[in-house]
């Protein structure tokens, strides 16, 4: 999932630098309010996950890996079931 998200972010949201990866800081890469809102919508479209308000923190959106963790936590129960 991390690799897929890295690709999504690079292609559709941010002008990322060479070497951008799952642990790169998204804010340093230009993530702002508009890009976060677009990312939330992409996550809904691609993974069918609507992240709740309580999880929309700066920390949770600091890297692709932390975003992937949020998605995984939301999709895990249905995947198991």
């Amino acid at each position: 999932m991390e690799q897929q998200l890295v690709q999504l972010v690079s292609e559709r949201l941010l002008e990322t630098q060479p070497g951008f990866g799952a642990d790169s800081n998204l804010y340093d890469s230009g993530l702002d309010s508009m890009a976060i809102m677009q990312l939330l919508i992409l996550i809904e479209e691609e993974y069918g996950v609507a992240l709740p308000e309580s999880e929309l923190t700066r920390q949770n959106f600091s890297t692709v890996r932390s975003v992937a963790g949020l998605i995984r936590a939301r999709t895990a129960p249905s995947a198991e079931g």
Binding site: E15, G30, L31, A35, I36, M37, Q38, I41
Partner: protein
């Protein structure tokens, strides 16, 4: 002589440039000056002119578009930039010193009031020696040994983010760093006419909905002459930290803009109610960057679209309710790709003569353009730490102020401090109303009255 042989080249305008061209022309026709804004750097000392002067010469050599003229192609009726060969002089530089300053700027002219000087420069033509410059730089030495640098820029060529990037480019040139500035602009898909029409629908429906709300401004729909006024309040780091915490609690840490636009709406509503009016609501257009996030540039052209927010009476009761409404609209507009749809509308209007363009823009809101101007531009040029040998201690914008709507409330941040810029055109806001507007703004920003922050002009 052919254009190529004379060194004159052509450059295409971007879609949003046509709106700014129409607005600039509207301001000129209604004798309000031109659509010129300023971006201010506060420095800890006067900059090194021995570095600044050659940097400004190199700047126009490198970017001759800064001396470009807008023309219209008679075959396509599309505007375009006519770019001359690089001028033989640098970007205009004005040197000023407040009375009582140390006089470190050689050749500077004495000035009584810096803010008045800056406002005056904004209303003057940017042309110098017959060259149609689209920007100029002024350096003002202050009494306290510090200094202000003001980049005045025409919105025909430069937008707010572009002005920050241009200041950073001047800063680099002052440091002897002369690197290419070519950057990718987001590609706009090639669409058929039918596809373009389809793409406009979301924006057209949005504007139709907003027309039902109306966009009353404090100035009213009639254009007014008269001078513009600006007041900048810089919050202390402690107050800024408190505010950031409150914004996070109110709008979520990730969407501060929705809180600030709500504050601006309620501040204007306060004045309407003071005047005994309770309109159905207000409409505010908020610029949205179309530059790809993370890219350094591009420096020039209006790389923006617009999100139109409304603040209806039912949502204006509390700052919490107004912020929640703005946040919902932000999500809906992003989901509906309103920024792309609005650009599609502008693209279809590119060939309109400026007067007709503005008539279409103002028709929807019965002569108004929006209820007030507003932007939250985030951190101002974070990469610009030094400028020509001086430390940058603060930075903010003084946006252009046309009527209608005649008033505006703007926010930006720099070095952990929040800057609030209040703007109004003469006759649009009385002294009592200015205090009321600021009072409401501070109360919403901090959750309690803050009379200590309502500085006199």
């Amino acid at each position: 002589m052919s254009p190529a042989a004379s060194g004159v080249t052509r450059e295409a305008v971007r879609v949003a440039d046509c709106f700014l061209l129409a607005h600039d022309d509207f301001m000129r026709r209604t004798r309000q000056g031109r659509h010129v804004s300023q971006s201010i750097l506060e420095l800890d000392r006067v900059p090194d002119l021995a570095r600044l002067r050659p940097a400004l010469e190199r700047l126009v050599q490198k970017h001759p578009l800064l001396a470009g003229r807008l023309r219209r192609d008679w075959r396509t009726w599309l505007p375009y930039w006519e770019v001359p060969p690089p001028p033989s002089r640098g970007l205009p530089l004005g040197l000023w010193r407040e009375r009582g300053s140390a006089g470190l700027l050689a050749g500077a002219t004495d000035v009584e009031d810096t803010m008045e000087l800056l406002q005056h420069i904004m209303t003057e033509p940017l042309d110098v020696e017959g060259i149609a410059f689209k920007a100029r730089l002024d350096v003002v030495e202050a009494k306290n040994g510090r200094c202000r640098v003001a980049l005045s820029w025409s919105h025909l060529l430069i937008d707010g983010k572009g002005a920050e990037l241009l200041l950073a480019e001047i800063g680099r040139l002052c440091d002897g760093v002369d690197v290419p500035c070519e950057v990718k602009e987001p590609a706009r898909p090639e669409l058929t006419f039918k596809e373009k029409i389809k793409k406009t629908k979301a924006a057209v429906f949005r504007l139709e909905d907003l027309a039902k709300v109306g966009a009353p401004s404090l100035c009213g729909p009639q254009p007014r002459r008269g001078r513009g006024y600006y007041q900048v309040i810089t919050l202390t780091p402690e107050d800024s930290a408190k505010l950031t915490e409150r914004v996070a609690g109110m709008a979520g840490a990730l969407f501060p803009m929705t809180f600030y636009v709500a504050c601006a709406a309620r501040a204007h509503d306060r004045i309407f109610r003071h005047r005994g009016r309770e309109p159905k609501g207000y409409v505010v257009s908020v610029p949205v960057q179309t530059r790809k996030r993370g890219a350094r540039g591009p420096l020039f052209h209006n790389q923006v679209s617009i999100f139109f927010f409304s603040a209806v009476r039912e949502a204006l009761g509390t700052i919490e309710a107004t912020t929640a409404s703005m946040k919902q609209q932000f999500a809906e507009m992003t989901r509906g790709k309103l920024e792309e749809s609005f650009l599609a509308v502008l693209e279809l209007m590119m060939r309109l003569p400026s007067w007709m363009f503005m008539r279409v823009v103002r028709w929807q809101f019965k002569g108004e353009m929006c209820s007030f101007f507003h932007s939250h531009t985030g951190v101002f040029a974070p990469e610009l730490i030094e400028f020509a040998g001086a430390q940058v201690t603060n930075a903010y914008h003084l946006p252009c102020l046309g009527t209608p709507p005649g008033t505006g409330l703007f926010f930006c941040e720099r070095g952990g401090q929040v800057n609030i810029t209040v703007t109004w055109r003469e006759g649009c806001l009385s002294e009592e109303e200015r205090r009321l507007m600021l009072g409401q703004t501070m109360e919403d920003l901090f959750g309690e009255p803050r009379p200590d922050l309502l500085h006199a002009l």
